[in-house]
């Protein structure tokens, strides 16, 4: 079973980026934020993005208090700080540069904030006010009433478009005229790529993706570097319904309309997505419905397998060479699981996906678990060598790593827990055990009964490897050394003790 149903040269799978190209990722709406969250986890675990040396996520969501968005932004900031301390490396944890839009170049106008989120400037009004409805002519009012319901018109834009793409398509036009998009275009170079992440069944994503694509590829655009933008390799993942919402009489979002909206959007996409080189489709059969929250801080859904797979579409897109993408574009991709089950572990993933993420995620889990369970209390040469007693308590970058791994809001532990609790669940790890030998679901590490000293992946094993690696890694900075140590040791643990999953 292949990751995505398209032909390609397998040699390219191992191709490591050698260019200085950027990947701009537009994460639109709540799904955009959640997929970027999963992508960031993959990057933190060491999954490589080929053909680029920097990722620039731009989250587009007018709902400034959206719970999903805010925790994704917090996590991106944390990742960015960690990366900036670690610096460029060929492989390992946090190896990919993730930057804010404003940090890729000096903003001479000062109109672009140093943030991962597109700044809507706080649309604190209803859609009616946004349209200046009361000042419209009678004919225009008639047209507006034909296109929008009363509920649409009265809808406060502070929490987004509440599943209404017709509202989103009006408001999001502002995005194209914004300083952020101008700055993006000014700094767009030949070789840079663009990727859109959106859902097709909501409001913001369904409206924003085709709108942004159309404007970036518009031959008459007033944006600078229009030629580069038009020729840029562009991919997108559009997520079709994969969750349902609890039915509530007075709720503005009815998940029963998801399929209808999806069909309508797909029929539009069929003829109106110009300039796209690859489009990934993902969907799932909804199981347990989510709490019905149209937006705001309460819209904070558990991480879902579909979002992880959508993040893999970004990795997949970047593995194609320019020539492959341009030849016969657009390429359409779908994804199929190896086995249709509600509780997935690594063995249920297609081989290609498993090879891409299993080792890296396992390494990240070992790192996170050891970091939490043993690191603070270890008394060992590597601990003394890194002066961890002091560093863990006092140095901000060590605290940042702690946040990235263990924050109850956005940390690695929480992300894995949510994936395992959602439906369909992705449970590659047993998160309840402290025994490293039993952490990979369905793949316990074998301990040799006749070898008294071979306890598999024990604390002793990790300690011994950490102490050994601390002698061979010559790095004066203790944080960089700590990450390098765990990268080396977890890699060895996987290769020696786990081997394959």
């Amino acid at each position: 079973m292949r990751l995505y149903t398209n032909l390609r040269n397998p040699r390219l799978l191992s191709k490591i980026c050698d260019s200085m190209a950027k990947l701009f990722i537009f994460g639109i709406g709540g799904t955009g934020s959640r997929v970027i969250r999963s992508l960031t986890m993959l990057l933190a675990s060491g999954v490589k993005l080929a053909n680029c040396d920097r990722v620039v996520p731009i989250i587009i969501d007018p709902d400034a208090h959206n719970g999903d968005m805010n925790r994704t932004v917090d996590m991106l900031k944390s990742y960015q700080q960690i990366y900036q301390h670690l610096g460029p490396r060929d492989d390992g944890f946090f190896q990919t540069d993730v930057s804010t839009l404003s940090s890729i170049s000096a903003d001479t106008n000062g109109g672009v904030k140093d943030t991962f989120v597109f700044d809507f400037g706080g649309i604190n009004q209803s859609f009616r006010q946004y349209l200046s409805y009361d000042q419209l002519s009678v004919d225009s009012k008639g047209l507006v009433e034909l296109l929008f319901t009363q509920d649409n018109l009265e809808s406060p834009l502070t929490i987004g478009f509440r599943g209404s793409p017709n509202v989103g398509s009006i408001v999001l036009n502002k995005v194209v005229e914004s300083p952020e998009i101008r700055f993006f275009a000014d700094n767009f170079q030949a070789g840079d790529r663009v990727f859109f992440i959106s859902s097709i069944f909501g409001g913001t994503g369904a409206a924003g993706f085709p709108l942004l694509l159309k404007n970036l590829k518009d031959p008459n655009t007033r944006l600078s570097n229009a030629g580069y933008l038009r020729n840029a390799l562009t991919g997108a993942v559009t997520v079709m319904p994969y969750f349902a919402l609890q039915s509530e009489d007075n709720s503005v979002i009815d998940s029963n309309s998801f399929l209808t909206k999806t069909k309508a959007a797909l029929s539009y996409y069929e003829h109106n997505l110009q300039g796209l080189d690859a489009l990934y489709y993902l969907a799932d059969t909804p199981d347990t419905p989510y709490e019905n929250q149209p937006g705001g801080t309460a819209q904070r859904n558990k991480a879902h397998l579909i979002e992880l797979l959508a993040a893999l579409s970004v990795v997949d897109f970047m593995q194609y060479s320019d020539a492959e993408l341009r030849n016969g574009a657009p390429h359409f991709h779908e994804y199929g699981l190896g086995t249709d089950t509600q509780d997935l572990n690594f063995s249920h993933l297609p081989d290609e996906s498993r090879e891409l993420i299993a080792k890296h995620l396992t390494q990240l889990l070992y790192f996170s678990r050891y970091h939490k369970q043993h690191l603070p209390t270890d008394k060992a040469p590597y601990h003394d060598n890194l002066n961890l007693d002091h560093a863990l308590r006092n140095e901000p970058i060590f605290k940042e790593l702690n946040n990235f791994l263990h924050s109850p809001e956005y940390g690695v532990d929480e992300w894995l827990k949510e994936l395992s609790q959602n439906r369909r669940s992705f449970r590659p790890f047993d998160l309840t055990t402290d025994d490293f030998n039993a952490m990979i679901s369905g793949k316990p590490v074998e301990k040799k009964w006749n070898d008294f000293f071979n306890k598999g992946l024990s604390q002793n094993y990790f300690l011994n490897q950490l102490n050994d690696a601390a002698k061979s890694i010559h790095e004066p900075d203790s944080f960089r050394k700590l990450v390098a140590l765990f990268d080396q040791v977890t890699d060895k643990a996987f290769e020696e003790k786990v081997k394959v999953v």
Binding site: K379, A380, P381, F453, Q459, N460, L463, N464, N467, K471
Partner: protein
């Protein structure tokens, strides 16, 4: 070498009874001294290089584990003193116990000295005892 060990062991006074002094100076001091140095070196190698490196045991590297080896080394050094005086059939005297005790203290010293010199080569105890 005999002069060195004579100097070392006569720091606590000359051997008793005086009639046994030649045996102590010619045989017992060099034997006890060399055996104690060898024992201490062996104990250090076992602690730092066998357990904490070759065997990959990473949880037997604390100060308390080192102290256990230190004490065992001192006890063995004490018994080396008794054994050597006994084997040379010197006259019974409380000096035998004083000399053995002094040898145990010297055992502590040798173990500490070898620890400081050799600990860096250990994987898991390179910072033990400090």
């Amino acid at each position: 070498m005999k002069g060195f060990f004579r100097f070392l062991y006569e720091l606590i006074g000359t051997p008793q009874p005086p009639s046994e002094t030649p045996v102590y100076r010619e045989v017992i001091f060099p034997n006890v001294g060399l055996l104690t140095i060898g024992l201490s070196l062996a104990m250090v190698l076992i602690f730092y290089y066998l357990i904490n490196r070759a065997m990959g045991v990473a949880t037997f590297n604390k100060l308390r584990h080192w102290v256990i080896f230190l004490v065992i080394n001192a006890l063995l050094a004490f018994f080396i003193g008794l054994w050597q005086t006994s084997s040379q059939e010197v006259a019974s005297h409380s000096y035998v116990y004083w000399m053995s005790t002094w040898n145990a203290i010297l055992g502590l010293f040798w173990f500490f000295l070898f620890s400081v010199l050799l600990k860096r080569g250990s994987t898991n105890a390179s910072t033990t005892p400090f």
